[in-house]
């Protein structure tokens, strides 16, 4: 139980996908202009990340490992994730149209979100079992959502601030992210005694 706790809080707060591992920066800066789309994106990523972790873990453990094909993991994972996202999109379109409108174009975009592939690769690298993988994937998504929402809140207020012309857009976005990352540094060594 303690191990799950450590993995979960580790990936949400300490090794946050965005702020400390630098994964998923494109959607982080692209969709954090307003709160609502940020929330939709966060939910979509959390869902896909959790499921993709499980699917890629199964793919690795039962198909690649027994035949000594570990070197194919990059190709296999990206194909599995792309197929899975497509599948999820079809299921959601069929069963819950309101959810589909809410997620909109964010769902297909997740395929190229490096955080999803990154989590899958980390799972395999750390040698997690299936339950740990699920916890790690879910926590990763939750940490991503949290960072995205924090950023969206700051940027909504930033609209009223006077930013120098050349710093507008991405430039000030990165400086803000730097401040956020600095704040999250406070969690470093949380579990180390």
């Amino acid at each position: 139980m303690e191990k799950f706790f450590v993995i979960f809080f580790g990936v949400v707060l300490i090794n946050n996908m965005i702020l400390s591992r630098f994964l998923g920066l494109c959607p982080f800066l692209g969709v954090s202009r307003a709160f609502k789309p940020a929330l939709s994106m966060g939910i979509a990523v959390t869902f896909v990340m959790t499921m993709a972790s499980i699917v890629t873990w199964i793919c690795y453990t039962f198909f690649l490992l027994p035949y000594g094909l570990e070197f194919l993991q990059t190709i296999a994972f990206i194909l599995v994730i792309a197929t899975f996202v497509q599948f999820v999109e079809m299921v959601i379109a069929k069963t819950s149209p309101p959810l589909q409108t809410a997620l909109g174009i964010y769902l297909p975009l997740i395929t190229t979100n490096c955080a999803v592939l990154g989590v899958s690769l980390i799972n395999v690298k750390e040698g997690y079992n299936l339950v740990e993988t699920t916890v790690h994937g879910f926590g990763g998504g939750l940490g991503f959502t949290m960072a995205l929402l924090l950023m969206a809140c700051i940027r909504e207020r930033l609209d009223f601030a006077e930013v120098p012309e050349c710093m507008k857009g991405f430039a000030i976005g990165f400086v803000l992210t730097s401040m956020l990352a600095l704040a999250f540094f406070g969690f470093q060594g949380f579990f180390a005694r």
Partner: protein, 200 residues
């Protein structure tokens, strides 16, 4: 002559006018994560250039026989094959670099620059121009990585390529090597590039 001019233009646009990191702001994850030292920056830049060259070449070669409906999966398979080749080559010849770059080598697959060039350029242009485009984009990306990692290594560690530059009394500002420093450096550099191009 016209061909040569075209090639030149395709090459140089990647370095400044359409620099992937500073102007188009693509492929951010690796540019931040591995830019802690200049060696890593060059290694990542070269690996990405290799993949870019391979994928642009192949995509351009098969551009007339690829059905447009399944072109994205085809591109992704081509790109991930070259990434796997690069991954294995780096592991075999420079194991230290492989360790330093870690999961960011397989993550070149989802580096938007490569897919964007395949889709926007290589799938529409002849092979020769696609090669020039790949080399230019790769050079621009490498250059950006070297600049970012140079600043971070110099201030955060007091060295460049492992050689001390500030003398023995310099206290390195370690934050710059860590995550917040990466975001700060890139943010300020993008601001600077905007400033310069606005002045012109």
């Amino acid at each position: 002559m016209a061909v040569l001019q075209h090639l030149q233009e395709d090459f140089f646009k990647g370095i400044w006018r359409e620099n992937p990191t500073f102007r188009i702001v693509l492929g951010l994850c690796p540019s931040l994560a591995i830019s802690t030292s200049v060696v890593n920056g060059i290694g990542m830049g070269l690996a990405a250039t290799f993949v870019l060259l391979g994928s642009n070449l192949l995509v351009s070669l098969i551009r007339n026989v690829t059905p447009s409906k399944i072109r994205l999966p085809v591109f992704i398979i081509i790109i991930s094959s070259f990434v796997t080749i690069a991954d294995l080559l780096i592991e075999a010849y420079t194991p230290d670099l492989h360790k330093a770059l870690g999961i960011f080598i397989p993550l070149i697959v989802v580096n938007c620059i490569i897919l964007a060039r395949a889709e926007a350029f290589a799938s529409r242009q002849p092979v020769l121009y696609s090669i020039a485009d790949a080399l230019g984009m790769g050079a621009g990306f490498t250059l950006a990585l070297v600049i970012i990692s140079g600043i971070r290594e110099a201030i955060g560690n007091g060295t460049i390529l492992g050689v001390p530059i500030f003398g023995p009394h310099y206290e390195p500002a370690i934050t710059l090597i860590l995550a917040p420093g990466a975001f700060l450096t890139l943010g300020l550099l993008i601001g600077l590039v905007n400033y310069i191009s606005r002045k012109r």
